[in-house]
């Protein structure tokens, strides 16, 4: 259950090896979260994430195979977790890939795959999670979107549009769940220094997985609809969205 101070006791991570997700799990376990299910593509990294959750103090940690692009299999993976582990208080959707814009532009199939990875496949899994949680009568779904989805940039619009889609989907899902006991939190990080952005020059207001996690854990406990990390980006992007298109187009890569 989620307690009065907003602490969940169990979490299912979609994209269990994600750096940001690992930091969030590390923030949740010391509270009450002793059941951690990490769904992801089997890898050493995924196993290491499970070990880290155990080391942090979780006593029921498991990994399950999950690939967002497996559209037919996704919902069943999620449902199976709800069946086997009982209540799932929190579903954290963290899977995602950045892709290389130039390559994607020249390889439409790869672009479509990225869109499936970041949006279509997650949407299928999240619909299954929402149905399970609705039946369960409570829960929180946390979807990691991005400020890149607030207003996609020329240099990054394929990834950006997957996040716009995912973000819009999550907001709608949240509205559809009002009254069901289930809430949805959309997380919009800025540039997070880490694996996904390795080798890139940090954008202004860059942050770390730990800082994102802190904001997310706080947002979970207060039941926030939207979390920006760092929080100042809420205001930065409120302005960015108002810029004339001709100016926005010139935003550097």
């Amino acid at each position: 259950m989620i307690d009065a101070t907003g602490r969940p006791q169990s979490v299912l991570v979609l994209g269990g090896a994600s750096e940001i997700a690992q930091a969030i799990v590390a923030g949740l376990v010391p509270g009450r979260c002793r059941t951690v299910i990490l769904a992801g593509r089997p890898s050493e990294r995924l196993d290491a994430a499970a070990d880290a959750a155990r080391a942090a103090g979780a006593d029921m940690v498991e990994t399950v195979a999950f690939d967002t692009t497996d559209l037919a299999g996704n919902p069943a993976v999620v449902e199976d977790v709800f069946t086997r582990f009982g209540d799932v208080d929190l579903v954290l959707a963290a899977a995602g890939a950045l892709g290389d814009q130039a390559e994607l532009e020249s390889d439409p199939q790869a672009a479509a795959e990225l869109i499936t990875t970041n949006f279509t496949g997650l949407a299928a899994a999240l619909l299954a999670a929402a149905r399970c949680m609705r039946a369960q009568g409570y829960g929180r779904i946390v979807v990691i979107s991005s400020v890149a989805g607030d207003r996609p940039r020329k240099a990054n619009y394929i990834y950006g549009s997957t996040k716009s889609g995912l973000d819009a989907f999550a907001q709608g899902l949240g509205d559809s769940l009002v009254g069901s006991g289930v809430g949805v939190t959309v997380v919009r990080p800025g540039f997070v220094v880490g694996r996904m952005t390795e080798g890139m020059d940090p954008a202004p207001f860059s942050t770390t997985p730990e800082a994102v996690a802190e904001a997310v854990v706080k947002g979970i406990s207060s039941g926030a609809d939207v979390v920006y990390a760092p929080p100042v980006l809420r205001w930065v992007f409120a302005v960015m969205k108002q810029l004339p298109r001709a100016v926005w187009r010139r935003m550097p890569g």
């Binding site: 101070t5 006791q9 009982g86 006991g181």
Partner: protein, 482 residues
């Protein structure tokens, strides 16, 4: 038996935290309790259901009367008075009858409830399930010590239990938070009173030592005793409080105008003076407003005043005059932290008050009281010692960890947390605090072998589980290919 009609509703406790949705059955007749029980048990057996639990007036602070995704039986409809013996004060009532109703009906006839909490808006079923205590615990014990028998609907049938009839099931139900079954009827032993007034002694105490000393040496002379501590005072004034103690007034104790008018002297007409109409988003209670209130309240209390007649309503239930005051804490709600520690652990009480005053959370008054011996209920809260209760708004950063620390202090002192107020206790801490839990589970498995009785509280502290329950299958339509 057909499954009763249900309505999906979002429920919370009095603290308005952690809402969950459940299918509510309005048990307008005991047969609907049976029907709901059968349906829930069948659904659990078929692995399609999430069990059921009873709900009274929703005055427990946390998630005790909630059952996410399952059935919640609203038992407040079982509100009839069944049999009355005015010579002995024994009454049999539906479990949904409120203590307020009992007072309205029976105080004018010379009988008062044996135990009343700080609000009269609780049901008899809720009073049993929490084995509630009042200001008279040190003399009269808790509620279930005055229950002569009760009818309990369980997954394996209906039992009439009492201290001498299946005492194990009776006592497991006392404080069992609804997890042994649904009480539909109870026979209570009321206590005789001559009037609806109390004779009250009020004293101010300068600090915690002072108030504890006064209680240790003086409580035995009073049937009712409680101290209200101003939690905004720190340093040498830490624990400054107002101690109110008293007993029921006899007719002869009252001023002439009442003493000569027995009907008036026994009148019990509760009034709600005001109601909080909406929830101010951030709440209206903050250290400033609460500090001002506490100061005012302390100054207005007489330094020392003996034998002053007070009406029962003001003495026992000062907060009931304002409807839905729980809204004042704002959108995120609040919680109550109530613990008990043995008499010897007075220092633990001090440390906890100190730590809570340090964070300067808006808390009105903390209530301090001494318990007498507990009863045999394995999950019943009271045990001899000090109990402190205080309301805290949710939302303060670090409150969760602070209270976890305090749990450790309470546990180390050999104490425990009150489940009827709890909304955040961890499963392992709960187990350590309630060594009777295994005895409780043993009795429960006898009447509920498949674990159909479930609540959010039970899930949270590890008394219930839904593992193995199926997820809803999507209505799979054949996909059309175009």
């Amino acid at each position: 038996m057909t499954a009763p009609r249900t309505r999906r509703a979002l429920l919370t406790g009095w603290g308005r935290t952690a809402p969950t949705a459940a299918d509510v059955v309005h048990a307008v007749h005991p047969s609907l309790v049976d029907a709901a029980m059968s349906a829930a048990v069948a659904a659990v057996a078929a692995r399609t259901g999430r069990g059921l639990v009873a709900r009274g007036m929703g005055r427990s602070y946390g998630d005790a009367a909630q059952n996410a995704g399952g059935t919640v039986v609203d038992a407040t409809w079982l509100d009839d008075i069944r049999t009355v013996d005015l010579a002995t004060g024994r009454i049999s009532v539906g479990a949904g009858v409120s203590l307020q109703t009992l007072m309205e009906r029976f105080v004018p006839l010379g009988w008062f409830v044996p135990v009343t909490p700080g609000t009269r808006l609780v049901s008899v079923g809720g009073a049993i399930a929490a084995d509630i205590h009042g200001k008279n615990h040190h003399v009269d014990g808790s509620f279930c010590s005055h229950v002569l028998s009760m009818t309990l609907v369980t997954p394996t049938g209906t039992h009439v239990v009492g201290p001498d009839a299946d005492p194990a099931l009776f006592w497991a139900t006392a404080g069992g938070m609804g997890l042994t079954g649904i009480v539909t009827e109870a026979t209570l032993q009321m206590i005789p009173v001559e009037t609806s007034y109390m004779l009250v002694d009020t004293e101010r105490a300068t600090d915690l030592d002072d108030v504890m000393d006064k209680m240790l040496t003086g409580d035995d002379a009073y049937r009712y005793s409680v101290a209200w501590i101003d939690c905004q005072s720190t340093g040498s004034r830490l624990g400054r409080s107002v101690l109110t103690r008293g007993d029921h007034a006899r007719l002869a104790d009252l001023p002439h105008r009442l003493a000569t008018d027995p009907d008036r002297a026994r009148a019990f007409v509760p009034r709600q003076l005001a109601r909080v109409p909406l929830t101010p988003p951030g709440g209206l209670l903050n250290p400033l407003t609460v500090g001002a209130f506490n100061e005012f309240w302390f100054r207005k209390a007489p330094k020392r005043q003996l034998g002053k007649p007070h009406h029962m309503t003001g003495f026992f239930h000062p907060l009931d005059g304002v409807g839905e005051w729980n809204r004042l804490y704002g959108g995120r709600g609040f919680l109550q932290y109530q613990f008990v520690v043995p008499d010897a652990a007075g220092e633990t009480v001090r440390r906890i008050i100190e730590r809570l005053t340090e964070v300067r959370l808006a808390s009105f008054l903390a209530v301090l009281k001494r318990f007498g011996p507990g009863d045999p209920g394995p999950l019943s809260f009271p045990m001899p010692g000090w109990t402190l209760a205080l309301d805290l708004p949710v939302g303060h950063d670090g409150l969760d960890r602070l209270l976890d620390d305090l749990d450790e202090e309470v546990l180390a002192a050999g104490g425990r947390i009150y489940l009827a107020k709890d909304s955040r206790l961890a499963p392992d801490t709960f187990r350590a605090m309630y060594p009777g839990v295994d005895r409780f589970l043993e009795v429960r498995s006898r009447v509920d072998p498949d674990g159909a009785l479930r609540s959010d509280l039970g899930r949270r502290i590890g008394l219930c589980s839904d593992a193995g329950a199926p997820t809803p299958r999507p209505t799979t339509k054949k996909r059309k290919t175009r």
